[in-house]
Every structure is written in structure tokens, then in C-alpha cells.
Symmetry: C2
Subunit: 152 residues, 2 copies
């Protein structure tokens, strides 16, 4: 029993899970000041890069299911951050576009990336070491999204 594979401290997933939660919490005071959640902020990141996208493209970009993104976007629509309209070419699609308020938020939140970025810096995480961390995380993401495509 008590095999070391089961030790919590040996678990990669628990570390990712905890780091993700804590870093999301670091965004919280900055985002809630503008009435946003972190997943809503992610949707804004996608739309700031390219406005007027169908729900499916946003979901794919964030690697989320549409049944997660749809209600999320509806809440943002209720807040006047974006609007949804039926696609003209394809009537099944819902095209999501930023409102002026949604566009203004990019400027109002301009300090968020640097603020959160500096909050994680420490002996073990430096501007020099972050690219290596990105490679590892991208490897995990690529590997797991691959096996997901294989068993859809």
C-alpha cells in the first residue's frame, strides 16, 4: 500500500490543477473590478485578436466545448460586452462580436498581463525560464489533445 505513485506530491496533475487555480485567483481582483471572470477574459482575448467569430471558433481556440462557451457568451451578452447574430452564409452559426464596451475593455485591462505576470516571478520562475515552461505545457496540451482527437 501507500505506493509512492499515489503520493500527492508526485502528481503532475495536482500541480497543474493547483497552479491553474491560484493563478486564476490572481486575476480575480483585476477582472472582477470590471465585472469579468477569467473564462470571460479568455473570450475577450480571442475576440480582441479577431472580432466577429462563430461560437465554434471561439470554443476551438480555447479548447472548450460549445456547451461551456454558449452560456458564458450569453452572460457576456447580458452585460453588454458583446452581441450575437445569426450567420448570413450559414444560419446555424452564431457570430459573436464585440460591442464598443467590449472593445474599450482592452484598454481598461491593458495592465493586467504585466501585473499578473510579475506576480508569479520568483526564484524558480524567471523571464528566462518561462519559455521552457511554455514548451513543456504545450507538449502536454498537444499530447493530450491528440489522444482526444483519436477517441472522439
Amino acid at each position: 500500500m501507500a505506493a509512492e505513485e499515489f503520493f500527492l506530491d508526485n502528481q503532475l496533475c495536482f500541480r497543474l490543477y493547483t497552479a491553474s487555480r491560484l493563478l486564476t485567483q490572481a486575476y480575480h481582483p483585476l477582472l472582477s473590478a470590471k465585472g469579468l471572470t477569467y473564462p470571460q477574459y479568455l473570450v475577450l482575448l480571442v475576440l480582441w485578436e479577431k472580432d466577429a467569430q462563430p461560437v465554434n471558433d471561439i470554443a476551438k481556440r480555447l479548447m472548450l466545448e460549445t456547451n461551456t462557451v454558449t452560456p458564458l457568451i450569453k452572460r457576456m451578452e447580458a452585460e453588454g460586452i458583446l452581441n450575437r447574430r445569426k450567420g448570413e452564409k450559414d444560419a446555424r452559426q452564431m457570430i459573436v462580436s464585440l460591442t464598443p464596451k467590449g472593445k474599450r475593455l482592452q484598454n481598461e485591462l491593458r495592465d493586467v498581463p504585466a501585473t499578473v505576470g510579475s506576480a508569479v516571478l520568483c526564484k524558480e520562475v524567471t523571464p528566462e525560464s518561462v519559455p521552457g515552461l511554455f514548451v513543456a505545457l504545450d507538449g502536454i496540451i498537444g499530447q493530450l489533445s491528440k489522444s482526444k482527437l483519436a477517441n472522439p
Copy 2:
């Protein structure tokens, strides 16, 4: 506009968030076969290390709030995986203990760590590179939990 700080691909948090979700999904078929969720599995990891702990100790170990852990534990109690009893020394505490079923699960799930572990291995993530990844993630967790203690 479109400042590169806002590019989704530059975001550490998004990578952690995605890697965490995908890796949790990799546990799903293995755990749901035994009627468990990933956070419930984490509670089992804690109790397998040391049985009969108060809710607060479990929550601290997982870096979760008690208002997350309490309902989670209650669901596990309803499944007959563990039981709760009032602390004798401190009547405020609820001591959580494994049932025989909860103890048996350790053996039934013995292949889970290796199965999930092998699922993430790839060019960028090797047995040799994982310790370095642990250091970085522990750095992030340590840094963020520190600043959390400062502003309670």
C-alpha cells in the same frame, strides 16, 4: 491595440488552465469507472496517505476552501467511500475516515498514476524533464500561495 501581451499564445495562465483541464479529462474514464471525480480522487490520495483527518487538514493539503471540500466529502460519504464523525477533542471538527470501500479503491485504482503518466509523455515531456517542470510549478504555487497569505 492588439498588444502582444494580450495574445492568447503568450499567456501562462491559459496554458496551465488548458493543461490542467485536459489532464483531468485523461483521468475521467479511469475514475468514472469507479464512480469518482478527479477532486474526489484527490481527497482519496490525501486519506490514503493518512486516514482520519479533519476537513480543514484535507482542504489545506489540497489548497482548497472548506466550502469546496465539505460538499465534496458529503457526496463521497453518500457513496459509502468515507464517513464523518465529530471530533472528540474539538467538537467543531469533522473527522473524515475511509470506509473499507474507500480503502479498497486504492488497490482498484493502482494502475491509474502510471496510465495517466504515460499518456502525457512526448518529445517535450520526458521522465527526465518532469522534475524541472515540478520545480517551476512548485515555484508558481509557492509564490501565489505566499501572496495569498499576505492578503487574507
